[in-house]
Symmetry: C2
Subunit: 287 residues, 2 copies
């Protein structure tokens, strides 16, 4: 398999490392990797470390002769890459294109518009860290890797993407792009916005310094997502806006009910408070 990776940060780099390192009994087993990134930093380091076979100077050279092209960039950058790959100067031959971005509908729609042979992908894995230096061959081990083909995608194209997911140690999960985006709005993008809203609600106050010196592990856990990569967060909000707005509205309903509980005339009802916390704990019991 001739693999081309466009973008060699945490996710693209971990794909390269996983493909190279996770089948140690099979050196030269038929996978070759070319990688390109806008800065060139990751590909240069990866080539020097022997983790990829080639680090061509541009996107067009990188995809020449590839069987599978992975767009390993945040959502908005993926849209730009699809536009670039649709240019007549780029030779894709019989390559299948896939991506790893956090949202799928907008990207699949753009690829369709451009007439590109595309199967959407989203490995459900991440890290606090970013960049090639943080890449790990085990990042995807036993994690779901969503594969979102168009209804008319050739089975062989879908199979190429699923083979990559399995080669990386992940478990392919086939889902329609729209279903994916609704699900991640709940489980991944709403958490991001709640983390951000927490910082906005607390961090902007005049008493910020007094408050933060009492911060403990709860604060750190709840603000970790707000520390994340700005381009990724921006792309998520921009390309999953409608689903995300719906989920934020649901969280607002829950918070309104909490305000009602806390401001109840005559003081909070302890049994009612307890019941809400018990319900939530029980809902989490299977997680």
């Amino acid at each position: 398999v001739r693999l081309a990776i466009l973008g060699l940060g945490l996710i693209g780099g971990s794909i390269a490392r996983a493909v190279r390192e996770r089948a140690p009994g099979e050196p030269g087993d038929g996978w070759s990797i070319a990688a390109w990134s806008p800065s060139g930093v990751g590909p240069a380091a990866a080539a020097a470390a022997g983790a990829i076979d080639a680090a061509p100077a541009n996107m067009a050279e990188t995809v020449v002769g590839a069987d599978l092209v992975v767009l390993a960039a945040p959502p908005l950058a993926c849209l730009g890459m699809l536009d670039a790959l649709a240019s007549p100067e780029v030779r894709l031959d019989d390559a299948v294109l896939t991506d790893v971005a956090s949202t799928k509908e907008a990207i699949v729609a753009r690829a369709t518009d451009r007439g590109l042979p595309f199967v959407g992908g989203h490995p459900m894995a991440g890290s606090d860290r970013s960049g090639w230096a943080a890449a790990s061959a085990d990042l995807f081990a036993d994690r779901p890797w969503v594969v979102a083909p168009l209804p008319d995608a050739p089975a062989e194209a879908v199979e190429r993407v699923e083979a990559l997911a399995r080669r990386c140690g992940a478990v392919p999960v086939r889902m329609a792009a729209a279903d994916h985006d609704r699900a991640v709005a709940a489980v991944s993008h709403l958490p991001l916005l709640l983390s951000v809203a927490l910082v906005e609600a607390v961090g902007a106050g005049a008493d910020r310094e007094d408050v933060l010196r009492l911060a403990a592990s709860g604060w750190r856990d709840m603000t970790r997502l707000a520390h994340g990569d700005v381009e990724m967060s921006t792309g998520i909000a921009a390309t999953n806006a409608r689903n995300l707005a719906g989920r934020v509205r649901e969280a607002r309903v829950a918070l309104d009910q909490w305000i009602e509980e806390l401001e109840r005339e005559g003081g909070p009802d302890i049994d009612s408070l307890r019941e809400r916390f018990v319900t939530v704990r029980d809902a989490l019991a299977g997680d």
Copy 2:
């Protein structure tokens, strides 16, 4: 110092272990520990392990002759303990009372009502785990330990509580009870309610199963607090309701602004989204 600990879970147990283990060069250096808990489970295990000197059968016996009595229980249980300790059958002699609960105003007010010699306390440390089995001598190391005395508290009483905090490796931070409650509403109790609201918004949906199979580390981080001890959460909401409601209202304002961004006519403005994420990332830069 004759120390009495009422409640021997994670926090009370870690105080016992820290007092006993953190000055290894000074065995028998004048600290003795008696502990009691409603179930008796922790004290029995601690006595068997040699971590405390005595596990009397009830609260009254446990505090006899004590210099310092630590109420190591959730907020509502602390209120009940103060009522019990105010009974004429309990001999407190010249003991100073303190606590470790997450809120201070309601507890300090109750102690004042009961005429008890009380200095509020709150070590800013915790764990996912609970109970004596999770207790650790290092839980408080280098952590802030809020000490909230009444304005007319004798200096010697405050000093007894601060000496315990230092003995546990913590850093005493003197604060008025009202200031403490305002600060923790922001940095600790609002995060709890956002974690709970996330589960309420997502976990109750008909698509719960589909959604949760895509859960990754962000979901786990953001729901960890919602997994917490129900009695602690209930006591926090009940005894810090006014401050907490104010902070929830601020988070709601932030979420309303996000809904506006996401539902902007003609689609989200990418520069405006990016600016919000950058502002939040920069606000966190010092954390």
